[in-house]
């Protein structure tokens, strides 16, 4: 991969100085401090809106800084300061960033696997342990977990009487779960529509990319807009899904490990969809307002599309192990 270099090739652009990083680092520190102190005062039950001010200020500062940073790199690219070699650095950077995201999700998928194949059966008495007989008599493991070990011994009060109450408290299983309701109910099942939306949006995005590579600006804008609409409808349906879980199914974050894994996996996925849609929206406005992107040079869009395909693939795995299997 070593780059061919001769006298005519442009130098690798190394900016002389940059204030972007120190602003970003300050904003990140504000977010960390604000979130931590906000959560701590929330837990100490003396919360006031002011505790979160630092967090909001940090988020706004980070958004502004990143906007400046990205627009700076875009302007540099338009001025032709970015050599082909520099563009390769950006591509490598994005690829490895997505790999790090894969590993982040892998941790949560790993938890689901461990709980379902090992921890759950052990709690109900499988293997050589004595956890079931001594701690959780009467607990039977089944997935989705409708009755937690705490339910099995008579709820949080009985557990407190026995002398061991976790300070994160009550874990009551849900009334209903979100699993696949059978083929006859397929069309009334939100994840089916969500899967359709997300897979189609990925296909529309490829159409957009092909249009761009042919120099068809109108086609590009159209297919990208369609991708975005599908993406935002996905987010809306996911909101309906959560509403249903909370209001109709009694499924909460504290509904035992089923609720925890369900909300953390779908939640982080949903958060990534929102980020991906946000990034694509920026690309859309760059295209319609500033006529950015050419046939050959459209890395901003391409990186966003890699990201979008990544969240799509995560969703496929998620439907398989969170909802269906």
């Amino acid at each position: 991969m070593a780059h061919k270099e001769d006298g005519a090739t442009p130098r690798y652009y190394v900016p002389a100085r940059s204030s972007m990083a120190i602003f970003s680092a300050t904003a990140l520190a504000m977010i960390a401090l604000g979130a931590a102190s906000g959560m701590n005062s929330m837990r100490a039950a003396n919360a006031s809106g002011g505790d979160w001010l630092l967090l909001y200020a940090g988020l706004i500062a980070l958004a502004i800084t990143l906007a400046c940073w990205f627009s700076l790199t875009i302007r540099e690219n338009l001025k032709g300061m970015n050599s082909e070699q520099l563009k390769v650095s950006y591509r490598i950077g994005m690829q490895w960033f997505i790999f790090s995201e894969v590993m982040f999700f892998a941790a949560f998928f790993g938890v689901l696997f461990y709980v379902r194949t090992l921890a759950g059966p052990w709690l109900s008495g499988d293997g050589a342990g004595v956890m079931n007989t001594l701690l959780w008599p009467g607990f039977d493991y089944a997935w989705p977990l409708m009755d937690t070990p705490q339910d099995a011994i008579g709820g949080v009060k009985e557990q407190a009487k026995a002398g061991f109450l976790a300070n994160n408290g009550e874990h009551t299983g849900p009334a209903r779960n979100m699993s696949f309701p059978g083929w006859e109910n397929l069309l009334h099942w939100l994840p089916f529509w969500n899967t359709t939306l997300l897979v189609l949006s990925s296909i529309w995005l490829e159409f957009a990319h092909h249009s761009l590579k042919k120099g068809n600006r109108k086609g590009f804008n159209f297919w990208l807009a369609l991708t975005l609409i599908f993406g935002f409808v996905f987010v809306y349906l996911q909101y309906l899904e959560y509403h249903e879980a909370y209001v109709d199914y009694g499924l909460y974050l504290n509904s035992g490990i089923y609720g925890a894994t369900f909300f953390m996996l779908t939640g982080f996925h949903g958060f990534h969809v929102i980020m991906g849609a946000g990034i694509l929206t920026v690309q859309f406005f760059r295209s319609i307002m500033k006529k950015h992107f050419t046939k050959e040079d459209h890395f901003g869009f391409e990186a966003a599309s890699w990201y979008w395909h990544f969240v799509d693939v995560v969703w496929i795995f998620l439907v398989a192990v969170v909802y269906v299997y």
Partner: protein, 516 residues
Amino acid sequence: MAGPDKGFSRWLLATNHKDIGALYLWFSFAMFLIGGSFAMIIRAELFQPGLQLVEPNFFNQMTTMHGLVMVFGAIMPAFVGLANYMIPIMIGAPDMALPRMNNLSFWILPFAFAILVSSLFMEGGAPNFGWTFYAPLSTTYAPPSVTFFIFGVHLMGISSIMGAINIVATIFNLRAPGMTLMKMPLFVWTWLITAFLLIAVMPVLAGAVTMMLMDIHFGTSFFSAAGGGDPVLFQHIFWFFGHPEVYIIILPAFGVVSEIIPTFSRKPLFGYASMVYATAAIAFLSFIVWAHHMFTVGMPLVGELYFMWATMLIAVPTAAKVFNWITTMFKGSLTFETPMLFSIAFVFLFTLGGLTGLMLAIAPADMQYHDSYFVVAHFHYTMVAGAIFSISASVYYWLPKWCGRMYNETMGKVHFWIAFLGFNLTFFPQHFLGLAGMPRRIPDYSIQFADFNMISSIGAFIYGLAQLIFLFNIIRTIYFGEKTTKEQTWESARGLEWTLPSPLPFHTFERPPSIK
């Protein structure tokens, strides 16, 4: 291209890889002294049996903060600093691939550690659950400052991932023409593999602390059996990060030593290709051995057996490396300048640490060793005599190149011998303490452990003193060291950095050199 800015903005707005490398190195030295002072408090308390200086809870805060600050604040940033400084030069690149992000990677760290260390002054005290922060100690029973700890870890993770991505992009994309992968200096190779490990496991750590955060504040039950979770699950996630993490710490040390030993043996490195493959093999194995840290937690027998055998496999590539270093020295024209002394001590003492690791890998024997001072002795032989010694070696090795001044060789040798003596005095007796049954992370002990503990504490104070000599020698070199402008500091050092003048120009290789 422009020269350096005047004043503090040079550092605050830095994009130059040498400036950022220097920032990392100074930051890590500051953290090293802070983490070291925590260790001094630990050893002072353990000087005699009984409780004399600190409360048990504060002692736990000290062991926790010592581990966290040393691992994440001292050793890792020191190697990232060396990578920043040396990798672009070693591969003939103009700078790091993404210079502005490089600056961000660094400047996150002071904030992260300010948050972490400030938890010492918070209500309820600093984190006191050990650097491994096992649930439920770190969730149900944690002090409120755990929330700040969690977000501090998130910041460090962001910094590490960005730094690692930068290094991967630099090595893959910015090598000079002709610098094929198998011509890269071994330090570059080990860092490429380390960067891969970082990108793979730092997100897993982020996941682990996120689950802790959710358990503490939002009612999830990942690590609580009452809701169907499992505290042992935390250990699995943590060590899936933690075992690659210890190789993140030691692989760059392998790289440094593989640069220094050939120089002072006046021979090329023996078995270059096998060094590369051994590094890759160690990195691969690091992903599939994590549960050897938890043999006593109650795993199924097949799990214990699998993790035992897989762990013992690591000895094979590691032994290949030690063999290569020794064979490099064999029949070499050896001289013993300070970097070489530290490197030879590294080979000798790291091998001891590796052998105790092999003992710990044997599951039935580990039932006895687990959570004892034997473990403490083992990992300090790898972390201190491994990582810290090699960092000292590399500072002495490259300091004349960095600042164009020669350090005081006598003082360097004094530093080495005091450090060597102090280190072994501190940690060698801890093997015996552990085998005799003294548990780790405890402020008081039974009186039969008294003698060895006193020796260990005296050794620790000596080792602490040695670091002040190190600091003094570095500062003295920078301001008053004998000037040297020659390109080749060490007679027969190989590599692109020794083709450049000393001190290094602000920008190097703006046009890539040609490698034959």
